[in-house]
């Protein structure tokens, strides 16, 4: 691939090839080994929209490969404020750096960056458009969790929960999941925030089973993955805003009562932890089924794989790598139950 703008061009083979590179990157991403494959390379990490965690995740991934990073933050470049086109900005910066990550509030803006340069451009989120590295790390996480649990993705039961209308994350994720075989999807969204019909049709056409409902607190039989997303209060248009809050809060009671012992609970983060927020509850933080931090941790390995693939440096992650020369904690967070679990191939 020349750029990473969307998940659309991915078939199952391309996904698994990328994940094989990501698995090779794990010892570096988990700070056991040091890789200098991109020593001398420079990343332009251009964030026209604030997204601190995504920016640092990409930057850290590039640094872990040995490269250096130039960041920009803020809605425009000073040059764009003077009327410079995206095409000019892209071409000029491309003369300085080896790859670009671009996050932009407008759909299609990142593709415009890509059209004006031959260096690789990664879409770090283009407004309501796509955020492909997020969907890829989500799928990679599911693969890791399933490998740990001895499950297979083909035939799995996945629930997508929350605002399925506006969430670009779930749109991209369901596209990637539908590359596998015979999945059962339960789509749980309040009225008015359902998954777009054309996406459901495309998934259904690939022989997956889709069930939709508006109520969260009902049993989900043999559920393998519960993927929760935030419902932004201002988007809810029903008559009972009080009921909405209680209905869609994913907490320990929901997980215990409606899900299973091996259900993997995911969320793209950030979660709103302020009082009364209708988001993933913190009463789950010590529950080993909560995979949200294993999920965000995976961003580094997946983004390393994206850079290594786009820049043709995959092989150097396979060679012998030297040990780190500093101390790394065995678990990153105090609640980490299985952050060092072995990773294995999806569908293997």
């Amino acid at each position: 691939m020349a750029h990473l703008l969307s998940v659309d061009p991915f078939d199952r083979h391309a996904v698994e090839r990328l994940f094989a590179v990501a698995r090779g990157a794990e010892p570096v991403a988990r700070r056991r080994k040091v890789c200098r494959a991109l020593e001398g390379a420079v990343l332009g990490n251009l964030f026209f929209e604030a997204s601190t965690r995504t920016r640092i995740s990409f930057a850290a991934a590039f640094c872990r490969l040995g490269g250096s990073v130039c960041d920009t933050t803020g809605f425009t470049f000073s040059s764009m404020a003077k009327g410079e086109s995206i095409q000019d900005t892209s071409r000029v910066i491309s003369g300085y750096v080896d790859a670009l990550v671009v996050r932009h509030p407008e759909r299609g803006a990142v593709a415009q960056f890509a059209q004006a340069t031959n260096i690789p451009v990664v879409n770090g989120g283009d407004g309501p458009g796509e955020h492909p590295s997020q969907a890829l790390l989500d799928l990679y996480t599911i693969g890791n969790e399933f490998a740990r649990l001895g499950k297979r993705l083909d035939g799995a039961h996945v629930a997508l929960i929350g605002d399925l209308k506006h969430g670009r994350t779930v749109h991209s994720l369901i596209k990637l999941l539908s590359l596998y075989r015979g999945l059962r999807f339960t789509l749980i969204a309040p009225a008015g925030l359902e998954m777009p019909a054309e996406l459901c049709e495309a998934v259904g056409a690939r022989d997956h089973h889709i069930e939709t409902r508006q109520v969260l607190r009902q049993p989900l039989k043999d559920l393998d993955v519960a993927y929760a997303t935030r419902i932004q209060r201002e988007r809810f248009t029903g008559e009972q805003p009080e009921g909405y809050t209680a209905d869609f809060r994913v907490d320990k009671a929901f997980l215990d009562e409606c899900c299973g012992e091996t259900t993997v609970l995911m969320h793209p983060l950030p979660r709103d932890s302020t009082a009364g927020a209708n988001d993933l509850s913190t009463d789950l933080d010590a529950d080993p089924r909560l995979a949200i931090f294993r999920q965000s941790d995976s961003g580094v390995a997946v983004r390393m794989a994206i850079f290594a693939t786009l820049l043709g440096a995959e092989r150097q992650l396979q060679g012998p790598l030297r040990d780190v020369t500093w101390r790394t904690p065995s678990a990153i967070g105090p609640n980490d139950a299985c952050s060092d679990m072995p990773s294995a191939s999806i569908g293997a």
Copy 2:
């Protein structure tokens, strides 16, 4: 040199010595080779005025030499907001880093930084003052273009176009060009935006020929370089603001009708590509005479040469350098005609 504050101290010998270092840096700047000469060194890249592209160009140049970069952006340091003097800021930061690039909206501010430290300070633009690295990369680009075309700088015909009154870029460039012999300058500016008289006198005193005019669309015989700059609308004071737009737009028609087949078209960028802007037209983007991106690309090699010279690391760019370990496109932009042309000595 201890600092790079202005082009004034440069004679022809100093210019050509710097450009010899820049040519040595080209394989690294063009991502064929990796250099680690400044591994362990740190640059303080202090931008008190926004200039994203210039900031990244300096940062990338320092990274390509193996160093690390600490950036600041925004009008003041938090310490300066508490009344800290430029002298104290400069001395404190100099204890942390090996070189400073300073961009500041006030003329002379960068020189104040330089007076307070013994580490090298590079002027990245001080308001209406100077922007010496831009003028040096412009001249370096002309040298590269002429080498490709088999031309010599001595005796060349150069047109400077646009706002010649406020453009610090053209002021510094004409000073550097006048170090060569027997040039012909055509200075084309609207009434009220002419090149300052004292600069014209200084150039004339060195035996160059100067012609001035207010109309763009007239033939320019044997023109070797057309250097266009933006006219900021708010600076135009004539009675016919409509006429101004049509008059000073540098586009394909102008290049075809008034210039020659080997005229090199340059611009310091950014160009205003919004509708109705009185700037360089995008209808030239596929024309091989348009050198604007070869020009901005050259910024990396020239800025690497500046750092290597100021820090006494020139020799390490001459030694054997290792190949890059990632994939680099053969041309950076889709319209690049000759981005990999050989570079040669000015005047050789």
Copy 3:
């Protein structure tokens, strides 16, 4: 130590162990040698409150150890603006980087970051709370100055001057100094800005002698260190705001008339150099007793020692290090009298 949140856990042994590491870091901090101990490691340098110099000092220290730095500036992360808790932010970023420096306007916020992660967290200042690396570099500087002057810290006479009520710097410093034996402290503060009583009691309980006064311009017999801090005008609550300015200005006359020939003059910086500011005068800049820039320079070695200790990489600063491959000035500032003085153990 797992984190550096406060000076409270330090005993004399821990301080001297850290300073031994800092002395080992000096050849790198002073740019004579290159160290790559942390090559491949990444620092998250999170500044929720502006402090440009502190941010660069930490970043440069990490770079000098061979690591890479990801910076953030501004009061919140974009994710925190969406309701993300400090706990989640800390845990997510900890999956990307190897250590965190956090500066935050609220007391205790940095400790919250530390509770949510097993990677080392350094308090870069938490509002009215602590700024432990500043106190440590202050003490380290005193040790270096005393070694040069052949003095010992036990039994020394130290004056703390200015706003002793709000200055977290002097609070932490007096705690560290009180780990030594038999010091004499003269605490000079305007009425209403005195050192908190509980701190005086704790220091007195360790058998140090404390004298307090409200007038600056009186002789200070056998004074070894004068540590001045800024009095913020808005905090002065006396009836004679004019008198306050004249009274508390530390200048050459004060140093010559009230202090001694070997008194070391320190200040945490920045100093307010604007006209009429009640701060350290610039008429002292050529006086070799002024140690303020040797003090800020020491920040790099001390912060390198903090990182090396927290990350278990101290030993690599002891091994043979290679020479720098660029030119470093013999003195950093034009007024530097003894920037290259040998450093020796405190109390040795």
